[in-house]
Symmetry: C2
Subunit: 234 residues, 2 copies
């Protein structure tokens, strides 16, 4: 790939600037840029990016050209409501969700989530920035949670879909019936799935059960697979 | 999920048996089974499984009921030809490929693969067994490689598809034109993609470019996303 290396910088304005020390070290030591090399800076909060050139490496100075709107990956607004799972699974899911164009990811505390688990917002933001840098995305999904299911449902937009391997309708058949730009909310249970009460709560909120495949997938794989299928249907 | 815990055992025959020490420790210490608990044993080489009961825990003795054919996840034979990527990416891809029903995974040494990289067959088999145990699959994908592209193409069956974000046809549109049981071979480049020469070799072998999404995905995510889309179209 001839893609230029990318790095996040907020705020991002045109001109010649000293870069923050950490960013300079990243450009020189990790991306191995030298004075004269071209790269791209993006500001995921503003959704803009700019071509840049490293003018000096230590301390790092960059020339930043005019900013432009950063490309969004997806026309469709997809919100993932993800039952909180153990360990680094939230990070795995979030990384894939960035690359697959999700507009929002909300982590939901469920009956079968590990009691007392918390998420570190700074760590999740770092994961999203890194994923956005790698995949060329110029914005970040809106991160929600950790919230309970009721709060997640109140805040969720779009046609609700509940992944369920026993559902009569397949996600693929469903996607054939909705316009490619129609907003969707995908609910994916934690390890062990949503409880019966939670499923009823989702159904009462208008979520429709669809099956991804006729067999059970691990929670983190189910989320990635569902986002992949939705992204492939744009 | 009310699914019973699963563990691999080869060969698998009905009767009352002392279990291998390592399997016994796994059942008692990891799965926390006690005497009287039910579980499932599967033999992925024979593609069979059987209900079992732990009769004694240390040393572990199990009663194994009649064996049956283990369920296959997928009707479709899908072969993944995966350009060898760095680090634990082959393992990540393999784990997902087991859960998404791939019939075969062949790792391919490409121009942009890390020079001198090798795969450890014992380690990959352990990853596949663990994934099969988790997802309820009773067989394992046929593992191929590390081979060069020519050998992989000579051994590959099915309609060949080459993932390419710039392809005119989408994978979804393509899948609408083939029967759900038609065998497929999916070629996914390594980090940095296939070289031009390799792309020409794939095209000459009849592989057809299709795009998964209109943007570039990391190699390990591209494989998982493509397998997800294929699995969702059964």
């Amino acid at each position: 790939m001839s893609q230029l290396p990318r790095a996040p910088l907020t705020p991002l304005v045109a001109g010649e600037h000293h870069l923050p020390r950490e960013l300079g070290a990243y450009l020189v030591k990790v991306l191995r840029l030298r004075a004269g090399d071209a790269f791209v800076l993006f500001d995921p909060d503003a959704g803009i990016e700019a071509d840049a050139e490293l003018v000096r490496d230590v301390p790092a100075v960059a020339r930043v050209w005019e900013t432009r709107r950063a490309p969004r990956l997806s026309r469709r607004e997809v919100t993932l409501l993800q039952g909180l799972a153990k360990g680094d699974k939230p990070e795995q899911v979030l990384r894939a969700a960035v690359a697959l164009g999700a507009a929002a990811v909300t982590f939901v505390r469920t009956e079968r989530s590990v009691a007392g688990a918390e998420l570190r917002a700074d760590r999740l933001r770092a994961v999203m920035l890194d994923a956005a840098r790698q995949c060329g995305r110029g914005d970040l999904p809106k991160l929600g949670g950790l919230v309970d299911l009721e709060a997640a449902l109140n805040a969720s937009d779009g046609l609700g879909l509940l992944l369920d391997p026993d559902a009569g309708e397949s996600l693929v058949d469903f996607l054939r019936t909705v316009a490619p730009q129609h907003a969707l909310a995908l609910a994916v249970g934690p390890e062990g799935g949503f409880s019966l009460a939670e499923v009823q709560q989702l159904l009462a909120a208008g979520f429709q059960p669809v099956r991804l495949a006729p067999y059970v997938l691990r929670t983190e794989l189910a989320a990635v697979a569902a986002l992949s299928v939705v992204a492939a249907h744009e």
